[in-house]
C-alpha cells in the first residue's frame, strides 16, 4: 500500500468514525476497506472518486450520530437547528450581516489576488534568483539616468571577463514586425529577437518544441499559443512557414504556452537575434541578461563593473569627457524599478500596491468590525433564550460552544458566498479596473491568511458575545432588567468611530483625487489635443514617401493640417545636451523633430521669429525652434536668441523661432526646455482633422495609406487618448478609490445600523415612558441620533489630517497640482455626507422605536 493511499483512506475512516454511529462503525469501515481493495485490483478509472462517493454516501440520517443535545459526554454540544432558527427569526438583519461580511471579503479577495499577481512577476523562472539584467547608468550633465538597453558585445564580454561568476548570458531585443501566412497578415507588436539559448535561460513555458533546440536555426521562430492560433487555426503549427516583413521565410519550431504568471517581457513570438547585424558597443537597443549563481558572486561582479566599463570604453570616456557605468539588477526587482528608461518592461507602481493594500485592509477591518458589532447587537436579542436555557440547566461551557458554533456556521456560510461572488464578479472587476486578475484558490498564503482572518473574526465576533451572554444573571434577564455592560459599549463605539474614520478618509481622498484628475484633463496644456490622429511610420516604404504621402492630403477638405514628427506633445522626447558656440557649458534639453506644419498642427503659438518654412531649402535640417523655457535657460530674451547658432548632437543649428511654452510631457513633470529641430527623424504622422467629419477624414487617410503602403496595416491613435494614457495609473487609482469608498460607506452604514438597533433596544423602556409623557416621534429620533453626532465628529477630526497627509503625498507625483487647502471644503463635505447617510440609516431604525406603542414596551416588569 502506497503512502498516499493509506493517507486518503485514513481520512475517510476518520470521517466515518467522527460522524457515524458507534455501533455501525466497524461494519462501515470494513465494507469501505474491502471495497477499496476491489477497486484497486480491478484498476477502474476514477477509483478514488468512486471510493469517496461511497464514503460520502454513507453519511445519511440512518448512520449519522444523533445531535442529541441533552446527552452528556456527546461531542455535539452545538445544535445547528438553533442556529438556523435564530437566523430566520432575525431575517433581514442576519442577511445584512452575512452579505455585508461577504461583500467585504469579495473586495479583499480581489485586491489580494491583484496584489499577488503584481508581486509575483517572473516567478515562474526556475533560476529567477540567479538572473540579472545589465543596466547602463548614463550621466548627461550630472543627471544620472538608468537605461535598460545595452548593445550586442556586452554579453560576450561579460562572459569572457567573469568566467567564474557568470554562467550564461542571453540577449533579447523587443521589436515589431509584419508577419504573413498565406492570406493572413498581422503586425506583431511584441516580438523578441533573442539568442538561441533564450528558452533554456528563461523558463517561458513551451508546449511544443525542445527548450534547448527551438531557436538553433537562424530561420526558426517560436510562436505564442494565441498567435499560432491566429495564423494556423487548429492546424499543427510545427513546420509551418511564415513570412516576416515580406522578406524572409521562417519555420515554426516551437509553441509557447500562456505564461503561468505575468512576466516583465510580454511577447507573442521569438526569433533568433543572429539575423541582425548588432553592430558595435554603441548600438544600444537590446537587453542583456546574465545568470549568476549566488548573490555574493553578483555583488562581486557588480563591484568590478567600473573596471569593466573602463576597459571597453576608456578611450571614449576620455575623448568625450564623460562616463557611463553598468549595474546588475536582479530580475525580481525589474517590475517595480520604474525609474529605468527604455527597458521595454511592464512596470508596476509600488505606491499603487501600497494604496490598494491599505484600502483592502481598511475594507477588511470595516467588514470585520461590522460583523462583530452586528453579532454583538443581535446576541442581546437572545438574552431571554439564554436565561431560559440556564434555568433549565444549560451549562456555561455548552452555551459558549453553541454560540461559537453558530458564529462558525455563519462565517463559513459568508465565506462561501464571498468566494462565489468573487468568481462571479471577477470579469466585471477586471473590466472596470482594467486589470487581468486571475484567482488561484490553492495559493498557500491565501489559505493561511484566510484561516487567520476567520479565526480572528470568530474570536472577536463569536467568543466575546458568547462569554458575555453566558455570564448573564438568568434571573435578572427573565425579570426584564437591562443586560449590558459599560465597557462593551465603549468597544463598540470605538469600532464605529474607526469605521467612520475610514469612510471619511476614503470619501475625501476620492473627491480630491478626482479633482486632481479632472484638473489634469482640463488644464490648458498650451497645445491643441483634439481631433489629431497619430499614425506610426512603421515601414520603410512609407518612410521613403513621406513627402508624397503628405501631398496627397493637400486638397482634402477634411484634413486640416499634416505634419510628420519625432516626438509629439505627450509622446516620447529624447534628452540631449545643447551647447552654444561661445561657451563650453552643456545644457540639458529635450529634443523633438518636426516639419513646417508642426506648430500649426498642434496649435502652438510662436513668441518670436517664425516657424519652419517648406520652400526654404536652407531651413531643412539646419534650423530649430526653442521654447521659452529653453531661451530662459540659455539666458537670452526671445528676440536675442534668433539667428544664434546652437549645437546638438554635433549638428550646428540656427535658431529661427521661439515658441510659447507648452506641456509636451506629462503634468507630473515640470515644464522643461525643449528644442524642436527641422529634420528627418520622424516616427509618426500627426494629422489634424475636421472633428465634425471624423469618419470621413479617417476614411480618406486610410485610403491614402493603403495606396502608399499596401503591405502594412495602419497603426493609429488619437492624441487625446495617448495623453490620457500618461495618467493611466492615477486614473486607475482614482477608480479604485471611488469604487471602494462606496463600498466602505455602505459597510460602515451597516455598522451604524447595528449600533442603532442595539441602542433602541436597550432604551426601549425609557423611550416608552418618554412617549407616555408626551415626547414626539421626532424628539425620540433626535435623542437616539445624538450620540452618533459625537462619533462622527471624532472620526472627522481624526480622519482629516490623515487624509490631508495622504493626498498631499499622492499629489507630490504631479508637478502641477490642485491645492488641498483651497479644497478644504472637501473634508467638510465628506463629514457631512457620512453624517447624512448615517442619519438616514439610524432614522430608518429608530423610527420604528419612536412610533411604537409605548404600552408594548413598558407593559412588562
Amino acid at each position: 500500500m502506497s503512502k498516499g493511499e493509506t493517507y486518503y483512506s485514513s481520512i475517510s475512516l476518520r470521517l466515518i468514525r467522527w460522524l457515524c454511529r458507534k455501533e455501525l462503525q466497524e461494519e462501515i469501515e470494513g465494507n469501505l476497506l474491502e471495497f477499496r481493495l476491489e477497486l484497486r485490483q480491478s484498476e477502474i478509472r476514477f477509483s478514488r472518486m468512486k471510493y469517496w462517493f461511497q464514503v460520502l454516501n454513507y453519511l445519511r440520517p440512518s448512520t449519522l450520530k444523533k445531535f442529541n443535545h441533552s446527552k452528556r459526554g456527546n461531542m455535539f454540544n452545538f445544535n445547528p437547528i438553533f442556529t438556523i432558527r435564530s437566523l430566520f427569526k432575525q431575517g433581514v438583519s442576519s442577511l445584512i450581516n452575512i452579505l455585508g461580511f461577504a461583500l467585504g471579503l469579495v473586495c479583499v479577495l480581489f485586491l489580494y489576488f491583484h496584489i499577488q499577481s503584481e508581486i509575483s512577476y517572473d516567478d515562474f523562472h526556475q533560476d529567477k534568483d540567479q538572473i540579472y539584467r545589465a543596466i547602463r547608468i548614463a550621466d548627461p550633465d550630472g543627471e544620472r539616468s538608468k537605461v535598460g538597453v545595452s548593445s550586442g558585445p556586452y554579453a560576450q564580454a561579460l562572459l569572457n571577463d567573469f568566467p567564474n561568476s557568470i554562467k550564461s548570458a542571453v540577449r533579447a531585443m523587443p521589436s515589431d514586425v509584419l508577419v504573413t501566412f498565406e492570406n493572413k497578415s498581422f503586425i506583431e507588436e511584441q516580438i523578441i529577437l533573442a539568442d538561441s539559448n533564450f528558452f533554456s535561460f528563461f523558463s517561458y513555458p513551451l508546449i511544443r518544441g525542445n527548450r534547448n533546440q527551438v531557436l538553433n536555426g537562424t530561420n526558426n521562430v517560436v510562436l505564442g499559443k494565441e498567435a499560432a492560433y491566429r495564423y494556423f487555426g487548429d492546424e499543427d503549427p510545427i513546420g509551418k512557414i511564415i513570412k516576416i516583413d515580406n522578406q524572409t521565410d521562417y519555420m515554426v519550431t516551437g509553441v509557447m504556452d500562456e505564461f503561468p504568471s505575468h512576466s516583465h517581457l510580454e511577447f507573442s513570438m521569438v526569433i533568433n537575434i543572429n539575423v541582425l547585424n548588432l553592430g558595435g558597443w554603441w548600438n544600444n537597443g537590446l537587453i542583456t541578461y546574465v545568470k549568476i549563481e549566488t548573490p555574493e558572486e553578483a555583488n562581486y561582479v557588480n563591484s568590478q563593473l567600473t573596471n569593466f566599463m573602463n576597459k571597453y570604453f576608456g578611450d571614449d570616456f576620455e575623448a568625450g569627457d564623460f562616463r557611463m557605468d553598468l549595474e546588475l539588477e536582479a530580475l525580481g526587482d525589474v517590475h517595480f524599478n520604474n525609474d529605468i528608461m527604455f527597458d521595454f518592461a511592464a512596470h508596476g507602481n509600488k505606491n499603487t500596491i501600497y494604496i490598494l493594500g491599505a484600502v483592502g485592509l481598511a475594507i477588511l477591518l470595516i467588514a470585520c468590525f461590522n460583523y462583530v458589532n452586528l453579532s454583538i447587537a443581535q446576541s442581546f436579542r437572545r438574552a431571554k433564550e439564554i436565561a431560559v436555557r440556564k434555568v433549565l440547566g444549560g451549562e456555561k461551557t455548552r452555551l459558549i460552544l453553541q454560540f461559537l458554533g453558530e458564529s462558525i456556521t455563519i462565517l463559513l456560510f459568508a465565506t462561501g458566498i464571498a468566494v462565489g461572488l468573487a468568481i462571479l464578479l471577477n470579469p466585471t472587476f477586471n473590466n472596470y479596473f482594467e486589470l487581468d486578475v486571475r484567482f488561484d484558490w490553492l495559493d498557500p498564503n491565501l489559505l493561511i491568511f484566510g484561516g487567520i482572518l476567520l479565526v480572528t473574526t470568530l474570536l472577536i465576533a463569536g467568543l466575546y458575545p458568547a462569554l458575555l451572554l453566558s455570564s448573564f444573571d438568568a434571573l435578572k434577564v427573565l425579570k426584564g432588567s437591562k443586560v449590558s455592560s459599560g465597557k462593551n459599549s465603549i468597544i463598540r463605539k470605538s469600532l464605529v468611530v474607526l469605521q467612520f474614520f475610514i469612510s471619511i478618509f476614503m470619501i475625501s481622498a476620492t473627491l480630491l483625487i478626482s479633482q486632481q484628475m479632472s484638473y489634469v484633463q482640463q488644464k490648458d496644456l498650451g497645445f491643441d489635443k483634439e481631433a489629431i490622429v497619430l499614425i506610426d511610420i512603421n515601414n520603410g516604404t512609407i518612410r521613403s514617401k513621406i513627402d508624397v504621402f503628405k501631398k496627397s492630403f493637400e486638397d482634402e477638405p477634411d484634413i486640416i493640417s499634416f505634419t510628420s514628427v519625432g516626438g509629439e506633445p505627450g509622446g516620447f522626447h529624447d534628452i540631449t545636451l545643447l551647447t552654444l558656440p561661445e561657451s563650453p557649458d552643456n545644457h540639458r534639453i529635450n529634443i523633438g523633430w518636426g516639419d513646417e506644419d508642426y506648430f500649426e498642427t498642434f496649435g502652438v503659438n510662436m513668441v518670436a521669429g517664425r516657424s519652419f518654412e517648406q520652400n526654404l531649402e536652407s531651413d531643412r535640417q539646419q534650423t530649430a525652434v526653442l521654447n521659452l523655457k529653453a531661451v530662459e535657460m540659455l539666458g537670452f530674451t526671445p528676440e536675442e536668441v534668433l539667428e544664434k547658432k546652437v549645437t546638438v548632437w554635433n549638428n550646428e543649428l540656427r535658431v529661427i523661432g521661439v515658441s510659447d511654452n507648452y506641456n509636451f510631457s506629462s503634468l507630473k513633470q515640470e515644464l522643461e526646455p525643449l528644442i524642436i529641430v527641422n529634420g528627418l527623424r520622424h516616427r509618426r504622422f500627426a494629422i489634424k482633422i475636421n472633428a465634425s467629419k471624423l469618419s470621413a477624414a479617417m476614411e480618406t487617410i486610410s485610403k491614402s495609406w493603403d495606396e502608399f503602403s499596401p503591405d502594412y496595416p495602419m497603426q493609429y491613435e488619437f492624441l487625446d487618448e495617448s495623453i490620457a494614457r500618461l495618467y493611466e495609473s492615477e486614473a486607475k487609482q482614482s477608480r479604485v478609490f471611488s469604487a471602494f469608498s462606496t463600498i466602505s460607506i455602505f459597510l460602515a452604514c451597516m455598522g451604524v445600523f447595528g449600533l442603532a438597533t442595539y441602542t433602541a433596544r436597550q432604551r426601549q423602556k425609557e423611550l416608552g415612558i418618554r412617549k407616555v409623557l408626551g415626547a414626539t416621534a421626532n424628539q425620540i429620533i433626535n435623542l437616539l441620533s445624538k450620540e452618533f453626532i459625537l462619533l462622527i465628529l471624532i472620526a472627522s477630526i481624526l480622519a482629516t489630517p490623515v487624509a490631508w497627509y495622504f493626498i498631499d503625498s499622492w499629489l507630490n507625483e504631479f508637478a502641477y497640482q490642485i491645492s488641498i487647502s483651497g479644497n478644504w471644503l472637501v473634508f467638510a463635505i465628506s463629514t457631512l455626507a457620512v453624517g447624512i447617510i448615517a442619519f438616514v440609516t439610524i432614522g430608518l431604525k429608530t423610527y420604528r422605536a419612536a412610533v411604537s406603542n409605548p404600552t408594548e414596551s413598558i407593559r412588562y416588569e
Binding site: E29, N31, N57, L59, P61, S62, T63
Partner: protein, 112 residues
C-alpha cells in the same frame, strides 16, 4: 413503524439476502444488485434499506467474519426472519395470482 408492506427494492434485497446466505453483507449485496439487476446502489443507500427492513422485522443481523481485506473488521451478516420469509412468500404469491389472471394475448402485442 410504517407498516409491513414491502417495496419493490426491498423485495429485491430480501431475495438477494436469501441467495447470498452467509455472505449477505452490504458490499456483497451491492455487487449482486449490480450484477444481476444492473442497478448501481451506494452502500450507504443499501444500508438504510437494510436497516429499515430490520426495523420492520424482516431481517436480523449478526456481526461476524472478520477478514484480512477488511482490516480485521467484522461484517454485518443479514438473515431473514420468519416474518421476513412469510412476507416475501406472500408477495410472490400475490404476484403469481395476478400473473395468472393476465390473459395470454395481452402480452403478445408489444409495440416497441
Amino acid at each position: 413503524m410504517k407498516g409491513t408492506n414491502l417495496g419493490e427494492f426491498e423485495e429485491l434485497v430480501l431475495l438477494i439476502v436469501l441467495i447470498l446466505q452467509k455472505e449477505a453483507y452490504v458490499l456483497k449485496i451491492r455487487e449482486e444488485v449490480l450484477d444481476q439487476i444492473g442497478r448501481s446502489v451506494a452502500m450507504g443507500a443499501l444500508h438504510s434499506t437494510l436497516s429499515r427492513l430490520e426495523k420492520k422485522g424482516f431481517l436480523e443481523s449478526v456481526m461476524e467474519g472478520a477478514t484480512q481485506e477488511r482490516g480485521g473488521r467484522r461484517k454485518r451478516i443479514y438473515e431473514l426472519t420468519a416474518l421476513g420469509k412469510t412476507v416475501l412468500k406472500d408477495a410472490n404469491q400475490q404476484r403469481q395470482m395476478l400473473w395468472n389472471q393476465v390473459p395470454d394475448y395481452a402480452l403478445k402485442f408489444i409495440y416497441v
